[in-house]
Amino acid sequence: MSDLRELYQEVILDHNRKPRNCRPMENPTGKAEGHNPLCGDNVTIYLDVQDGVIRDVSFEGSGCAISKSSASLMTSVLKGKTVEEAEALFQRFHELVTSDPTREPDVEGLGKLAVFAGVREYPVRVKCASLAWHTLHAALLQSAATVTTE
């Protein structure tokens, strides 16, 4: 059970029980759907990006505690960040959850997202943790495309 507490940290369980920003958005500048066909998880990310800054971000979907809390925590740290900062955070997050579990995790700059370091021990759950982020990436690209076509 002690090992499992590394994975299911209190913050993760809390966001699983009470996901933040779990709502649809009207007129988003970007929207993308992500699926994990292996387990049936799905998530939709909504973005409101103005002048390169994320004004609002929300999600809907169904999934396990790891995927739901990851989406919830992601949306709660992204508001006010620039698109570049969001992409950099995605990069850092991805590095964290796929890094060597025998080494000390590098959590610098990740803030609350550091709670996902425990996922490294569970390779089959990495996709659960990163689904929201991959979907965010797609929504950001769409947002950028929307802006340029206007």
Binding site: M1, D3, L4, L7, Y8, L13, N16, L38, C39, G40, D41, N42, S62, G63, C64, A65, I66, K68, Y122, R125, C128
Partner: protein, 408 residues
């Protein structure tokens, strides 16, 4: 009857079950995905490679003759296991999926035309949906789906209503992999035959839990995979009535499936070789033969009785476990305990159980339409085999309690 079945002695035949996982004794409850292999199967494969390995049906040398004889003997074991009339009605494939695709491609292309209908059920595995969808798209035929009720029981009135003069083929699982429902296959075959339709029975889940008699069922095709029947992966079986197999064109071209080849013309080999192009999985067939010997040695009736007792025990244990809801509660079912745990997603349940050494399947079980029918994205599935025990069910229930505590 079950007193005579010594599960602890049976467990000793399976070397893999002796290990510990994350510090706990392995509790293997993912048998519907694949079963573990008894020593007799591992030995048969080893012996074949150490003593008899050669290609079959070619060469007059001793090893080739031994390998051919062993391969033929395996086919005869499968024939007896299914009570098929003749050994040439047994075609070796890679797995049940390939067997279904063989029928869809060969029988389907030859006999299914525009406007014809293929009838399947709402509880099919993707392997018994997608090949028919592909065929229907290609031939302009229509896929018709028989619904089920909330317990996961097929609606036989609906089935009868959906049968008609355009029905060419009915493809139905004998035992649903996601729900455990046993379908009334003999009745389904009789009804389908009345409208002139052929019936393929997907026995991937059934064949290792209950005796199968293809002549009594009167089904036209029966398919299963070796690896779910305590045999190796890579070997599967298609049973087909000889009269039908004779009429069907080859599925794949190559060596072994021919009598003579010139650049102008090829004369195909007879049954079953017409459908077995190329060097087959010889060791796989021999391993499957050994698995059949092992299983019939235990006694299919006794294995079935033990598993029914375990299923009853598991059903009652899970029904009284807090927060558990069983999915698939048909009156006639076997070996599958599919369920959801309130407040904990199936994947989290799977990870938590794994930490206690318990292997279950979580997800959609390659049956997404079944999940959609019950409004679920996923379930947890514990599936039983001859070597499982009541103590292992207790471990599962206790693991579920821990999952609830963690998420409470």
């Amino acid at each position: 009857m079950s007193e005579a079945f010594d599960v602890w002695r049976v467990r000793k035949d399976f070397p893999i079950l002796e290990q510990r996982v994350h510090g706990h004794p392995l509790v293997y409850l993912d048998n519907a995905a694949t079963t573990q292999k008894p020593r007799a199967v591992l030995e048969a494969i080893r012996r074949y490679y150490e003593e008899d390995n050669a290609n079959i049906h070619r060469g007059v040398h001793t090893l080739s003759q031994r390998a051919t004889a062993a391969h033929d003997a395996a086919r005869e074991r499968v024939r007896r296991f299914l009570n098929a009339a003749r050994p040439e009605e047994i075609v070796f494939t890679r797995n049940a999926t390939e067997s279904i695709n063989l029928v869809a491609q060969s029988y389907g292309r030859a006999f299914v035309g525009e406007g014809d209908e293929i009838v399947i059920s709402a509880m099919e595995h993707h392997a018994n949906i997608v090949p028919w969808q592909m065929l229907c798209q290609e031939r302009g035929a229509k896929l018709v789906v028989v619904p089920m009720d909330d317990s996961g029981t097929l609606l036989m009135d609906e089935f009868e209503r959906l049968l008609g003069p355009r029905t060419k083929l009915v493809a139905i699982s004998h035992l649903s992999n996601a729900l455990g429902t046993i379908n009334p296959v003999a009745e389904i075959v009789a009804m389908a035959h009345r409208v002139g339709a052929r019936v393929l029975v997907d026995g991937a889940q059934a064949a290792y839990h209950m005796p199968v008699d293809v002549q009594a069922l009167d089904c036209d095709f029966y398919v299963f995979s070796g690896h779910k029947l305590y045999g190796p992966t890579g070997i599967g079986v298609l049973y087909g009535k000889a009269s039908l197999l004779e009429e069907m064109p080859p599925f794949m071209g190559g060596g072994d499936m021919i009598l003579s080849v010139t650049f102008e013309e090829t004369i195909y080999n007879g049954l079953p070789f017409k459908f077995e192009a190329g060097t087959p999985d010889i060791s796989g067939a021999i391993g499957l033969g050994a698995a059949i010997d092992y299983l019939t040695g235990l006694g299919m009736e006794r294995v079935g009785a033990w598993e029914r007792e375990l299923l009853k025990y598991g059903t009652e244990a899970l029904q009284s476990a807090p927060g558990v809801r069983l999915v698939g509660t048909a009156r006639n079912k076997a070996s599958i305990l599919s369920f959801v745990l309130e407040g904990v997603h199936p994947h989290d349940v799977g990870t938590i159980l794994d930490q206690e050494g318990i292997a279950v399947r979580t997800g959609h079980h390659c049956a997404q339409p079944v999940m959609a029918r019950f409004g679920l994205a996923a379930t947890v599935r514990a599936s039983l085999a001859c070597y499982n025990t009541r103590e292992e069910i207790d471990a599962l229930v206790s693991g579920l309690k821990h999952a609830r505590e963690m998420f409470g």
